[in-house]
């Protein structure tokens, strides 16, 4: 159903000027239920697991590890992995190592523009605890404070093999129906948003980037 904006649960989009308000949707994201029929849901999960489209957005030093995935040596396309240049069409977001505040803002925007079900893989140690940038002034230490993470691949820096292993791990989790980060994000939307706004000072986006 095409759902028009209903007024009660809307976001105030404080970051926008008055004339910009009309240009961005102020609807609040909503969680989705699994399909009523179990078999259908399993089948859907199987399909999702076997067609992982990674957003081509290198967000840190780990971005360099993504490239070899598609090359002859690792050839992740065997597992249905493909790169996708637009978040609308991609289902997996690989956070390539540390996320500086400036990048975090873009990450959030891109993540919110992806269509659920969508998954986040965190690459390297930095998203876990800040790693070597633990006391940096402009990188976030715990990434899952800001966006729901479905899978961590630690190490500094994990090699592509590990990345492939992680992808297969993600596939298992998806098939098991355990990857519902998107819904978690929606359910704890205000908490996440508060954290995000705490670090991102110049918040000139709508609260949720549809």
């Amino acid at each position: 159903m095409i759902k028009s904006l209903n007024t009660e649960d809307t976001l105030e989009n404080a970051g926008l000027t008055d004339e910009e308000q009309q240009l961005f949707s102020n609807a609040r994201p909503q969680a989705y239920e699994p399909y009523p029929i179990k078999a259908v849901e399993d089948f859907a999960n199987w399909a999702r697991a076997n067609s992982l489209w990674i957003l081509a957005f290198g967000t840190g030093c780990g971005a360099i590890e993504l490239r070899p995935l598609m090359t002859a040596r690792f050839d992740a396309s065997r597992f249905g992995v493909a790169g996708r240049p637009t978040p609308r069409q991609s289902s997996v977001f690989v956070i390539g190592g540390y996320a500086s505040v400036k990048t975090l803002k873009r990450i959030i925007r891109s993540y919110e523009q992806m269509q659920g079900p969508k998954f986040i893989i965190c690459l390297g140690i930095c998203p876990v605890n800040g790693g070597m940038y633990f006391d940096s002034y402009n990188t976030v230490n715990q990434f899952d404070q800001y966006l729901p993470v479905d899978l961590y691949i630690t190490g500094c820096m994990p090699r592509p093999e590990v990345l492939v292993a992680g992808i297969m791990e993600l596939q298992k989790k998806i098939k098991a129906g355990e990857c519902n980060g998107a819904n978690r994000y929606v359910e704890n939307f205000d908490w996440y948003k508060a954290n995000q706004k705490k670090v991102i000072k110049n918040w000139d986006m709508p609260d949720y980037n549809w």
């Binding site: 989705y32 399909a47 050839d75 396309s77 065997r78 249905g80 240049p85 069409q89």
Partner: protein, 312 residues
């Protein structure tokens, strides 16, 4: 008039949906095959054969989506309707009433013009998404279309002169009785021009600037996702296969059975692929100029050639 011969329509519709299923399935399969071929060229294994199907299913199984408006919603519908309709007006198998589809409704002109139907609708949908890249992509795609239409049309005119008909069925009929009667043999100049236009039509490198993945994130479909994207992927398979069938009918003697059709179309497809993997991408104005030079010349020559041939 639709009421009086209802059973005729029912039968036609039934047969056509069968054709539709076969061609779509085949198109997806060929897509995978081509992808694997390219992978082999690059020393990879490549995607499994089921991958295209899974991708489409995955997209249909998405649970959230956005809509920019009615045209955005209808865009993909237009697109695939264009694909299905084009197939509907082409007789797929020669000599089989079953798979001649609705070719009695119109002739070659109808097919050529109906190809625009999907592009136009898609363009409108992408336009309403409000994404500048979409508009840029369409602008490029349309411009390139006007360019490769020229050699293609010249070739078409040439073979229409040659066979003195516009009906695809009769064009195919005229090529029966062995490979020496195929257009590619009898009128190789026209075929050459048409195959050059074919490169542009299939949108593989070097003529894939209008959906340049890195520069303008895949152009027109930038904003499309979920089920919209599913429809469009279906159409890409279906429409690609349809174009192949058309070229097969016009230049390679058509097909009397499905296996023949599949082999021929696959071979035709390989032309675009081989060129695609071998050549870098043209800038759009380079592409346009390319089509206006050599291919157009060949097309003109094809008409002259066929006239001389008829005189002789």
């Amino acid at each position: 008039m639709i009421i009086e011969d209802f059973d005729f329509w029912l039968g036609k519709a039934g047969y056509f949906s069968l054709t539709l299923l076969i061609v779509t399935f085949y198109g997806l399969l060929v897509g995978a095959f081509i992808d694997r071929t390219i992978a082999k060229v690059q020393g990879r294994i490549g995607i499994p054969y089921r991958q295209p199907f899974i991708n489409i299913l995955k997209n249909f199984f998405k649970r959230t989506a956005i809509s920019h408006g009615v045209m955005f919603y209808l865009g993909p519908v237009f697109r695939i309707a264009g694909g299905i309709g084009t197939l509907a007006f082409i007789p797929v198998l020669y000599g089989s009433e079953m798979f001649s589809n609705f070719s009695m409704a119109g002739d070659l002109f109808l097919v050529i013009y109906f190809m625009f139907f999907g592009q136009l609708g898609m363009a409108l949908g992408a336009g309403e998404s409000g994404h500048p890249y979409a508009a840029i992509g369409i602008a490029r795609g349309l411009s390139q279309m006007t360019a490769y239409e020229v050699p293609f049309v010249l070739a078409v005119i040439s073979i229409v002169i040659q066979y003195d008909t516009l009906s695809i069925t009769q064009i195919v009929a005229a090529q029966q009785g062995g490979w020496q009667n195929w257009t590619v043999v009898t009128n190789w100049v026209a075929t050459l021009a048409a195959m050059l236009a074919f490169l542009g039509m299939m949108g593989y490198s070097p003529f894939d600037i209008f959906l340049a993945p890195q520069e303008i994130p895949i152009g027109p479909p930038t904003e499309f996702h979920s089920a919209y994207l599913g429809l469009m992927q279906l159409n890409r398979a279906l429409f690609g296969a349809t174009k192949l069938v058309l070229f097969m009918n016009l230049f390679f003697g058509g097909a009397t059975s499905w296996p023949e059709l599949m082999i021929k179309t696959l071979l035709i497809y390989m032309v675009a692929i081989v060129v695609g993997v071998a050549f870098p991408r043209f800038r759009v104005d380079q592409g346009i100029r390319f089509f206006f030079k050599i291919p157009t010349l060949i097309g003109i020559m094809s008409i002259v050639y066929v006239q001389m041939m008829l005189v002789a």
